[in-house]
Structures are given as C-alpha cells and as structure tokens.
Amino acid sequence: MRCQEVLENLTTLAYDELDATSAAACQQHLAQCESCQEEWSAIRATLGLLDLVPRRQTQVDLAAVCLRISREQRRAYSWKRWGLGLAAAAALLVCATAAQLLAINVEPGRLIVAWNAPAAGPAERVESPQGDSGAGQAAAPVGDTLKTPVGDAPAAAADTAVAAHVRSIGVVPNALVELLERDNLAAWRRRHRSLDGNGEDWRAQSDDVSTRPRGDTTIRADDADDAPPPPVSYSELRRHWLGGDAKANRRTSPEA
C-alpha cells in the first residue's frame, strides 16, 4: 500500500471502520513508514483531545414537551372546528340563496319549477282586494310561480287576508304560510269554475283553450259581489292543515 492510500484511510482506521484486509495493510505500512506513522499519531492525539470536551448534562423537561404538543394539537383541532363551522355556514348560505331563487309549485297535472323567480306575495298580485274589475285585468307578475289566473281577485283578496292574519300571529313558518295561501287560492279557483256562465264550468267541458270565450278575463258581477270568506284563526288553519280539522275545512271551503 502506498503512502497516499494509507493517509486517505487513516481517519477510517482511527474510527475502526476500515475492513480487515485494508486495516492490516495500513498497519503494515505504518510500521515501515515514519511520516505516515507521524500523521497517524497526530490523528489519534486530536481524537484524544476531542474526547476531553466536557459532556454537558442535558435535562429535558418532559412536561414542557408534552404541554407544547398538547397545545399545538388543541390549536389544530380548534382551527379544524372553525373550518368546519365556516364550511357549514357557507353551505347553509348557499342553500338559503338557492331556496330563495328556486320556486317549486305543484298544480293539478303539472309541476312548475322556476329559477330566479321574484318573490310574489298575494298583495303584489292583486292591486285591489275588493274584487274591482280593473284589478282583475292586472297581469300576473313575471315569474309568478302560482300562475294566478286573471280574474281571481276575490281569491287573491282572501289570500291576502289569510296571509295577513297568519303573519300577524307571528312565529309562523313561511312554508306553512305558503301552503295556507295556496289552499285558499285553489279553493277559489274551484269556485270560479263552477260559477262560470250558466253555472257550468266551461273549463270542465273541454280542455281546449280555444273554446274559452275570448276576452273572458274580467270578473263577472256575481263573482265580484261574492265577498271572500272571513279570515280564519291561525289555530284553526293549523289544525286544518296538520290535523284535518273538519270545522276549519268547512270555513275555508267555498261551499261553506
């Protein structure tokens, strides 16, 4: 083994990591080469000095370590919880917005789904709640999912009265108010069908729209004179809707 090779391997030899064959060859060379022996001694002396470096006693505060980790985990959990809360709030907001914009109406024989429909309360649909013929000619607002037929002013007036009454009670779910309004409207539609012309419902005779008299958009005198039924109490309406109360049903029905 040559001096250069030995010098390259001396550190590895000093740390006892040289393979047995190379180590033996190095030792053999060191026994013969004075300069390499000198370097070998110097390396071992330096390593000896390094061993003099004092060992500081380290004291790890285990409680402090665990406390830090615990705090970090709590903080991470807190952030996660906040994130979930915000996500839920955002989802609710989106649902609420969608519910506001989406209107679904079920009518006999058809389902109407309208998007971006403006809010159309009964009061907005009818200008005059007293069955004024001029009011009956008012066109239904665009996007009105209830499709109020022209000439349903008394029915609309009844809607308004019922809705106003129910709203005045307060703490009424909007959905229930909607249902109440629709029920009244449907009742008035049925009534108008039966009062058309000679007491027969022309719409019942034929589904063909062309058979309907042209310009038949005004309310007839007997219709106009027919006053809407008096408003019922909220408790009665609620019983009617939730419990099928016969009395309330009679009072809200046109045949009463």
Binding site: E8, L10, T11, T12, Y15, E17, S41, A42, I43, R44, A45, T46, L47, G48, L49, L50, L52, V53, P54, R55, R56, Q57, T58, Q59, V60, D61, L62, A64, V65, C66, R68, I69, E72
Partner: protein, 188 residues
C-alpha cells in the same frame, strides 16, 4: 445504557405513535444526553442546549407519524437534531456577535501550554470545534460526538460517503492546526 431485554428504539417509537407516553419517556431518557451533546456542539456558543434539546423532542413527537421503521432510528433522530441546530445558527446569525467574539478572545488569551489545566484544555478544544466551518463541523460532530458510522453520517447529512470521510479527515487536520496555534498539543 440499553440492556438486551430492553425494547428497541423502533418498538418504543411504534408504541409512541399509538400514544404510549411511557414509551416516549423512555426515548427521552435514552437519547437526551447524546442528542444534547451533539446539539450543543452544533449550535452556537450562546445557545441554550436544554431548550434546543427540548425542541428536538417536540419535533420528534410532532413527526412520529412520519417515522418509518425501515430507516435507522438514530439517523432519523440526528437528522432532526441537525435541523434544530441549523435553525438555531440561522437565528444567531441575525443576533449581535458580541458574545462569540468575547469567548474567542478569552480562549485565545490562554496560550501557555504548561499553565493549562485539563478543564481549560477542554474549553479550548470545545471552542476550536465550534470555530470550524459548518460543512466540516457537522460531519465531525455527528461522527465523533454522535457516535454514528460514516454511512449513517452520510445518510443524516445527505452527502456522499466519500465526501463525509474526506470532510472528517479535513476537519481533524484543521482542528489540529488550530489547537497547535493555541498551544494545545495532545498525546495519544
């Protein structure tokens, strides 16, 4: 000292991953001195070694899910300690160097060899190690104070094995030269 019947570091770490606090206590007991010594040598002179060591164990606990038993535990732990020491050095660079210069002057003043006690010699050697360039100090400290093999040092530092060997050899030469300049000569 670990006895043959004691659980291995891998077992302890595996238990620690499942929330066994006793296993973590055992890891701390086993590794606080070796890690403290290594971190103390790698960190700056004004560093609080206890605090740094504590930081190492916090990081170990934080990274316990990422530990892979296929790797050497000592390499993994020393790698974390090396990062802690490097972070500390970066912080110290931004601080005023007053304390470092003062220590350098104090150790330079103690030149007469015959007047040096063993304690003073140790202080000078310690200061000389700290004065080594970072690229030489890290392999030397990991090899000598961390008692890692050359291959483990290479894995910990991420540098090739041959480079590690040559850097340790260079570090020893630089150290010897510096100690000779300060009048410290060792004997075998």
């Amino acid at each position: 000292m670990q006895r043959p019947t004691d659980p291995s570091d891998h077992d302890l770490m595996s238990r620690c991953r499942h929330g066994d606090a006793v296993a973590f206590e055992e890891i701390v007991r086993r590794w606080e001195q070796p890690l403290g010594r290594m971190v103390g040598q790698l960190a700056g002179p004004g560093a609080d070694v206890d605090d740094l060591c504590q930081e190492v164990f916090v990081r170990i606990l934080r990274a316990r899910e990422r530990y892979r038993p296929s790797h050497s535990f000592s390499t993994w732990v020393y790698r974390i300690a090396l990062n802690v020491a490097r972070d500390n050095r970066r912080r110290e660079i931004r601080r005023p160097k007053q304390s470092l210069d003062a220590q350098d002057q104090a150790s330079s003043a103690q030149t007469p060899t015959d007047a040096l006690s063993a304690h003073e010699t140790a202080e000078i050697v310690d200061a000389a190690v700290r004065a080594l360039p970072e690229i030489l100090r890290e392999p030397l400290v990991l090899k000598h104070f961390g008692k890692l093999s050359f291959a483990e040092v290479a894995e910990t530092t991420g540098i090739p094995l041959g480079t590690v060997k040559s850097r340790v050899a260079t570090a020893l030469r630089e150290l010897r030269s510096e100690l000779n300049r300060r009048g410290v000569t060792g004997t075998e």
